[in-house]
Homo-oligomer: 311 residues x 2
């Protein structure tokens, strides 16, 4: 990952001073680099010996960082990686433009890697992410959002980039279609698991460890799986609580604790994590298509870690 970090530092540079300021504010905020890690490990797993995977891994992290900068403008979160969101420090305009800059630089990195098919996969993922974010925005405060709609949104906004991060490496390595398909599924399932855990943690009270306030989804009226499950389980009385707090956005100081209590009463957080575990297991299974070596074992361990961080 040292090579990836070097590229991230080099390619986020700009003579326009505020750009590296904002880019590094987020890039150096202690993010887990989980997406580029997938790209690097998947390349090694496939026996790739060139340097192109480093450029693709950095490109994946730039796309992710650009979406975080744009999400800050969209979401109005209280904390991002334990710090005030960039748009609260520099304003919406700068956050939008520096996101655009990183997005463009991501494509320059992909050009360096030299694979047109990898470019296709990552540019399609970027379009799908934007579609997912738009659908998430349209679903905000819609308490009738179903499990299926929720899964469709997270497949687009989160799992698509995980899938692309894993798929580009076998493409670059010239691996077989079977290995490529296996790694694509690995990434997609891992992305679903990751987002499910994230959404459970938003009601889980481990703010310091995560660098993200709990309660963001509740405050923003983002209907995630725990809430959808509680409403399914709870009937009309349950429904009116969520309709007021998340649908209408009328929230008192006790309501978040009450929400957490209701989710626990219905076992909705456990059920969400159970689903996350199932997707992580499918991710590990999909690695059967790939060679069994220290890198496939690392990717399997990563899938464990993604779920374990919830406990």
């Amino acid at each position: 990952m040292t090579g990836v970090e070097t590229l991230i530092a080099e390619r986020s540079a700009s003579a326009t001073a505020v750009i590296p300021d904002i880019a590094h504010y987020l890039l150096n905020a202690g993010g887990k680099r989980i997406r580029p890690l997938i790209t690097v490990a998947a390349a090694r797993l496939c026996g790739y010996e060139g340097q192109g995977h480093l450029a693709l891994a950095a490109a994946v992290e730039f796309i992710h960082t650009a979406t975080l900068l744009h999400d800050d403008v969209v979401d109005d979160s209280a904390l991002r990686r334990g710090k005030a969101p960039a748009n609260q420090v520099w304003g919406n305009a700068q956050s939008v433009l520096v996101g655009d800059f990183l997005f463009a630089r991501a494509f320059m990195l992909m050009v360096d890697a030299g694979s047109m098919r990898a470019l296709h996969v990552l540019s399609r993922a970027a379009a799908v992410i934007a579609e997912g974010e738009v659908r998430q925005l349209a679903a905000a405060r819609q308490i009738a959002t179903t499990r299926d709609q929720y899964m469709d949104i997270i497949a687009a906004k989160t799992a698509a980039l995980f899938a692309a991060a894993a798929q580009v490496s076998p493409i670059l390595a010239g691996a077989s279609p079977r290995v490529e398909a296996g790694l694509e599924i690995y990434g997609r399932e891992l992305g679903l698991a990751f987002q499910l855990v994230d959404d459970a943690l938003d009601y889980g009270g481990v703010a310091e460890a995560l660098g993200k306030n709990t309660g963001d989804d509740f405050r923003e009226g983002k209907i995630t799986l725990p809430v959808a499950l509680a409403m399914e389980a709870g009937g009309e009385a349950e429904r009116s609580f969520w309709a007021r707090t998340m649908g209408e956005g009328v929230q008192g100081p006790e309501d978040f604790d009450e929400a957490v209590a209701r989710l626990k009463r219905h076992g909705a957080l456990d059920a969400t994590l159970e689903q996350a575990r199932a997707h992580a297991a499918r991710a590990v299974e999909a690695l059967d298509a790939a060679p069994d070596n220290v890198w496939s074992q690392s990717l399997a361990a990563l899938a464990e870690f993604v779920v374990e961080r919830a406990y």
Copy 2:
């Protein structure tokens, strides 16, 4: 251009309904399609007979449209192409996300065209545009902004995409480095002329024809060449007017008319258009490197048109 229009319609489609709504709101608002026109004419000029130039032309228009959507969030303009800006209709969040979607789709189009060098040129242009926009934002309300700083900003935010739009076609056609360099200069000089004319028109009172209110730059404190020239010419008394209205943003109802009168008194609008004419002439000269045919004549006529629309 019919092929380009078909691609623009097809590739802005999405099952997420609000995306085509917003994209078409802007794409079908009567924009001049000047950038994709350059790409198409330059490809024909070079004798290119494939279809890839249509994808690149549509990609160029998507990048331009994405930057307009993001500019609306950044700028707070009153009108865009004669209509309320998309962010006033759908909100900032949707404008940011649909811009991202079009940006990603632009790269998918470039992949279809199949030229890695064209991808490099366009992705670099996209990064330079973002840098230019950031510098423009930093220069807002800075009345000490010099001519050179202004020219540096418009070279990045406007001329870089014109240059790339012209350069990708000889690349695709496999034209000689001399032809490619000539067309790149043509695009860059035309872009400078275009922006200078735009900035003069913002004080020029032809709002209906342009679909853009005059006075946006004045209201937003964007120091363009006319203002920089008036301040150079006018001494301390002149300076205090611009310092109050554009530097501090303290504006009364008569101030815009007063600003126009001052620009005219110093011949600043004429001088700006004179510079635009000089850049357009350099654009036409640069075509000497390319074959003389009906397409080079069209590109020369386009350069005339860009300047003539100011009168």
